[in-house]
Structures are given as C-alpha cells and as structure tokens.
Symmetry: C2
Subunit: 111 residues, 2 copies
DNA sequence: CCAAACTATATCACGACGCGATCTATCGCA
DNA sequence: TGCGATAGATCGCGTCGTGATATAGTTTGG
C-alpha cells in the first residue's frame, strides 16, 4: 500500500531479531522460531533474500562484533543501523494502531 | 512465511473494513483511509486484485444486502464469510502477539 | 567410528502480490 | 453543461515469499 516506509512482515521479524543484539542469519531464523513458539518458520530463501534487500535499503549492516565464546567462523553477523531502528519503531507503531483498530472492530477479546 | 493462514496487510485491511458491515469496493477504500487518518491509501489496483483473491479463498462473498437509502446501482457489495471472520480474528491475534514482542524489545513506548 | 542430524550460507525459478497508470462510465452539483 | 467525485476494472512491472537444491563444516548418538 501507499504507506511510506512500511515493511513486510518478514522484514519486520528480522529487524525485531536484531533489535536487542547482532545476530547471524541462522541465529535470526532460530530466534524467530523461538520467539513465536514455533508458529513462524521462515525458510532460508526468504531469509537471505530479505537480508540482501535490507542491506540495500540501509536498515541493517554487517557487524564486526563477534561473540568471544562459541563463535563459528562461517557466520555473518548483522546489526541495525540508526535508520533500521527508526524503521522498526515506525512499523511497530503502525502495527499497534492496526491492532487497536482490530480490537475496536471486535476482532479481539476485551474489545 | 510458513505461518498457516496468514494474510497480507492489504487483505487484513479489507477484512477489517467488512468486519462491522458489508461494503462496496470504493467504500472499503474510503473506510481504510478514514480509519487510518489518511496514513494508508490503497490504490484500486491493489484493492480489486485483492478482492478477487479473497473471493477465491472464500473469506469474502458478494452480499445481497443493500442500503435502503443512498444506494448506487453501480456498487458491488461484499461481506465476510464465517471463514473470513475466523481468518480476521486469527490475523488480529497474530499481530497482537507481534506487537507485544515489539514492546518487549523496546520498540514501543511503555515497553 | 561412522552416519545422521544440525549448523550455516547461498542461489534459483515460480508464483503471489502491490501498485501506479489508464480506461470507462455514472453521479451530484454548481 | 461541465467538472470533480464516485465506482469498477485491467494491465504490466517490480518486489517479495517460498520450496528446492547445493555445499560444507560440526556435533552427536548408536
């Protein structure tokens, strides 16, 4: 839709994963699965193509920080840019409004 | 993503419009714009192609009920099916969880 | 000790979807 | 009469999600 700066659900999930700390691709996958109790399972095709697009948009970047223990040299770490944090907050705000509207339309309990 | 029965944001907006009463295409457009304070403006390309897909999915159907006043014979009215109401509630619930997660990641005020 | 499962990244092709542009036609109003 | 709003519809382009497939190192259970 013509909603400035809005993100797809996949992209928002990825930004949410990176909101608290840098993570690598596969780690993002597991964080999403864990956070959503296994309800959301992103495939690697979705993940890596979304990462490429997010890099191009400038909302994430490769991170040089790596864990001092349990590292794996194959990993590529990513982190939010300032624009990425702002984009994530904007999308969270939009979704919050959407949920409030759903509640007022009796689509949720305590509406 | 591999999230059973999930809807795109456009589709969810349309189902929300139909949650309280049947509406016609152009009416859905204006309801969305009004409900979101003009932040979301869906084009007719998005609208009518989404309506076709929602009809095919069986979540909306053409409605025979028409307003007794201020009608316009050009209009085509739509309403939610039982499956459509369930789908809208499911999506609202998923989005609510997503917003709660965003809040716990400090992406929203009062998090 | 070896196979299977897991970790990790990456690409491809297909289909679904968003979206602006464009078209046709009617309606309400000045 | 003429113009803007209402109303529905389609087209093509570009974006995106997705499963399949490939490659390869690591861990773990039997």
């Amino acid at each position: 839709m013509a909603t400035e700066g809005s993100l797809t659900t996949s992209m928002f999930h990825i930004l949410m994963s990176l909101a608290d700390r840098p993570r690598h691709g596969y780690g993002i996958l597991r964080e999403i699965e864990g956070r959503t109790d296994g309800e959301v399972r992103m495939g690697t095709g979705t993940l890596y193509s979304a990462i490429r697009r997010l890099l191009n948009k400038g909302v994430i970047r490769e991170s040089s920080s790596r864990p001092d223990t349990d590292d794996d040299e194959r990993r590529v770490y990513y982190e939010l840019t300032d624009e990425g944090l702002a984009a994530a907050r904007g999308e969270a705000r939009r979704l919050g409004l959407l949920v409030a509207q759903a509640r007022s339309k009796q689509l949720l309990p305590r509406g």
